[in-house]
């Protein structure tokens, strides 16, 4: 197991390297630069600006400087390896590190609450639907699930505000601060995920409860509760765990739409504005951050497999 984890961790290096190279190439392939403005600057100033941010260097040099394996124009090693994600070009006074420390906690809080909600709502709904297949509970939870799957956050968000903030006045319309601000955006974010989880849980639960070992457990005279919780649920959770990985990465690193609708100062905004601003260090930083979360989440998922199902073994 330890060897497996080490090997997986080592594998993340080429994966992250690959993603960083592709992103770097793509974002530089987009025409225009961070200093292209409607009103042209004098050529000397433009040149100085480019020089200040090292954008006058050849592309490969910019990349190796960014990674931190070559000295940058000011003669220092200052790249990702030194935990320096560079300056933000669009926001002159901030570094990417500062943007991370200011906005990542907000997105992460929101994302984690949404994820807890998604699991806490989705798994029970799926179990009830599977155990009482073709009953009213089954139809009811699957009806809720199809609403969650069908209706995107762009729609749920404004409707939530309309009903629960403007009409009923239970929650604030938008903003960030106390716990009351978290509820509406977290529900908006989590509803879609909870629907996916509910449908998956139901499908895999239906499969698992027909397995031989469940019949064996029944034959041993175990209580229904023990059968469901200890034998069925553990196995039924495996496909659910698979989708939790990418879900976690996407939720925690911020979802632009929800943060936009609820005016939340999270990371989501930077994924998009950095690309339209050609803010190269921020694009690289946010993408790599997302990739790191994705890789880590997938690794965690694979490790939990082994705990959920002893038949799965890694060498």
């Amino acid at each position: 197991m330890t060897r497996y984890i080490i090997r997986r961790l080592l594998w993340t290096i080429p994966v992250l390297l690959f993603i960083s190279i592709i992103t770097f190439a793509l974002v530089h392939a987009v025409p225009g630069g961070p200093f292209d403005k409607e009103k042209a600057r004098p050529a000397e100033i433009q040149a100085n600006l480019l020089k200040h941010y090292g954008l006058d260097q050849p592309l490969w040099k910019q990349y190796t400087d960014y990674i931190g394996i070559t000295r940058n124009p000011s003669g220092k090693y200052a790249g990702i390896l030194q935990w320096d994600f560079g300056p933000s070009i669009a926001q002159r006074s901030r570094t990417v590190n500062e943007i991370f420390s200011a906005h990542l906690p907000v997105s992460a809080t929101l994302g984690l609450v949404a994820l807890l909600l998604a699991v806490g709502l989705g798994v029970p709904l799926g179990i009830i639907a599977a155990l009482k297949q073709n009953s009213i509970w089954d139809y009811l939870s699957m009806a809720i699930a199809i609403v969650g799957v069908s209706v995107p956050a762009v729609v749920i968000g404004p409707l939530m505000i309309l009903v629960f903030a403007l009409l009923l006045g239970w929650f604030p319309v938008a903003g960030w601060g106390s716990l009351r601000y978290v509820v509406l955006p977290a529900v908006t974010l989590g509803l879609g995920s909870s629907a996916i989880i509910a449908r998956l849980t139901r499908a895999s639960m239906l499969q698992v409860i027909r397995e031989d070992y469940i019949r064996t457990a029944r034959a041993k005279g175990l209580s229904e509760k023990a059968i469901i919780v200890r034998h069925a649920l553990k196995n039924a959770f495996i496909p659910v765990a698979t989708v939790l990985g990418p879900m976690f990465a996407a939720l925690v690193t911020g979802t632009f739409v929800v943060e936009q609708i609820f005016a939340i100062p999270g990371m989501g905004k930077y994924f998009i504005t950095s690309i339209t601003n050609r803010d190269y260090p921020v694009v690289m930083g946010t993408t790599l951050l997302y990739a790191v979360f994705l890789v880590a989440a997938n690794l965690l998922v694979d490790i939990t497999y082994a705990f959920l199902d002893p038949r799965i073994q890694y060498e």
Binding site: V30, G32, R199
Partner: protein, 359 residues
């Protein structure tokens, strides 16, 4: 519900009267897979509702210029954010105290005084083509890619599937945002005749006109979605073919001298088209959602072309003062998503016997 319908379907298909007893009944042969599937689909109420809604939406898109009270750019800026009287009564807040009241617009006007209803109606000309063209491209590229990879197997398969894996590892949203930014800055705006950008823009104009829009940059959205949408289908087709090509009937067909093309076309495709059709139908909402997302962040259709995404974005901005503006595009989008999901679920139940009852 499902089982009752199914047994009814089986009973009818097998010419049996009364309830079907036990699994033995399902072993009896039915007339034809497609007739059987179609019959089962029509027995699924949700799927029929979905199908009817989709047909209605297509009709709205085709006849948008007849149905819509105004053209999507027409408006009176004096009447910006105007609200009809009945809406002020049903919506929260006290719009009647500050908003312009005008019954000229049945559902109110946007911040430029354009009729919201008309814009939502013209918005179907963006959303539906995006869904269908996305599905077509995904089907075309994905099916061919997956078939080749699965049928020839070995090294070809290895290389082709590694490429798909790499595409998968990359965050799709980032890829599509980068691509749209690339298109917008390379081909947006005026270009001198003779350049590549000029030619691309001319193609785009033709595409826009086919969609019945005066502007919009639809070509770029189609390309962006098409290029990121085919991987799932490719994987599915490959997996299906891998398991199918070892079956006896394929071997038999080869024994009597059928060529690769005939085997793929006559024997393999009819067997895999069911699951692929299901996957495509269920993917259409995600293509529509991608366009909505892109327009929401301002990288989708070019204004003034109305997209539900950009309308929701504008509506969300004025949510506090004019809560009604977001409602129409949001509800229509939700209905569209429901329709395709219902139809997709119904198709799956009707076509894929293994998934029956598991949803």
């Amino acid at each position: 519900m499902m089982t009752k319908q199914e047994s009814a379907a089986r009973a009818l298909a097998t010419g049996q009267k009364g309830p079907v007893k036990g699994e033995a009944a399902s072993q009896q042969t039915v007339t034809n897979l497609w007739q059987d599937a179609f019959y089962r689909l029509t027995r699924n109420r949700a799927a029929v509702v979905g199908l009817v809604l989709i047909v209605a939406l297509i009709l709205v898109a085709v006849f948008a210029d007849r149905i819509a009270p105004m053209y999507y750019t027409d408006g009176d800026s004096v009447l910006n954010n105007a609200v009809p009287l009945w809406l002020t009564k049903v919506m929260p807040g006290h719009m009647e105290k500050y908003a312009q009241i005008s019954d000229l617009y049945p559902f109110g006007a946007d911040y430029l005084g354009r009729d919201l209803l008309s814009r939502v109606i013209y918005g179907t000309r963006v959303s539906l083509p995006v869904g269908f063209v996305g599905a077509m491209t995904a089907l075309l590229i994905g099916l061919i890619y997956g078939s080749v990879s699965g049928y020839y197997g070995g090294k070809v398969d290895d290389v082709m599937m590694r490429i798909v894996d790499i595409m998968y590892a990359f965050p799709t949203m980032l890829l599509i945002i980068l691509m749209m930014a690339f298109f917008k800055s390379s081909f947006g705006g005026a270009a001198a005749p003779g350049t590549l950008a000029y030619e691309v823009n001319r193609i785009n104009d033709v595409v826009d006109r086919i969609m019945g829009l005066d502007s919009g940059g639809m070509l770029f959205i189609f390309i962006g979605i098409g290029l990121t949408a085919w991987m799932g289908i490719a994987r599915l087709a490959r997996g299906q073919i891998l398991s199918l090509k070892e079956k006896e009937f394929i071997l038999a067909s080869r024994m009597i001298g059928a060529r690769d093309g005939r085997i793929i076309w006559r024997h393999i495709l009819p067997n895999i088209i069911g699951p692929i059709l299901v996957q495509i139908t269920l993917a259409i909402p995600s293509y529509i959602e991608t366009e909505v997302f892109l327009s929401f962040i301002g990288l989708g259709v070019d204004p003034p072309t109305p997209s539900w995404g950009s309308m929701i974005s504008e509506g969300a901005n004025t949510l506090r003062s004019y809560p009604h503006q977001v409602l129409l595009p949001a509800l229509l989008l939700a209905v569209t998503m429901f329709a395709f999901n219902f139809l997709g679920d119904g198709l799956r139940d009707a076509l894929d016997p293994r998934m029956r009852g598991t949803k």
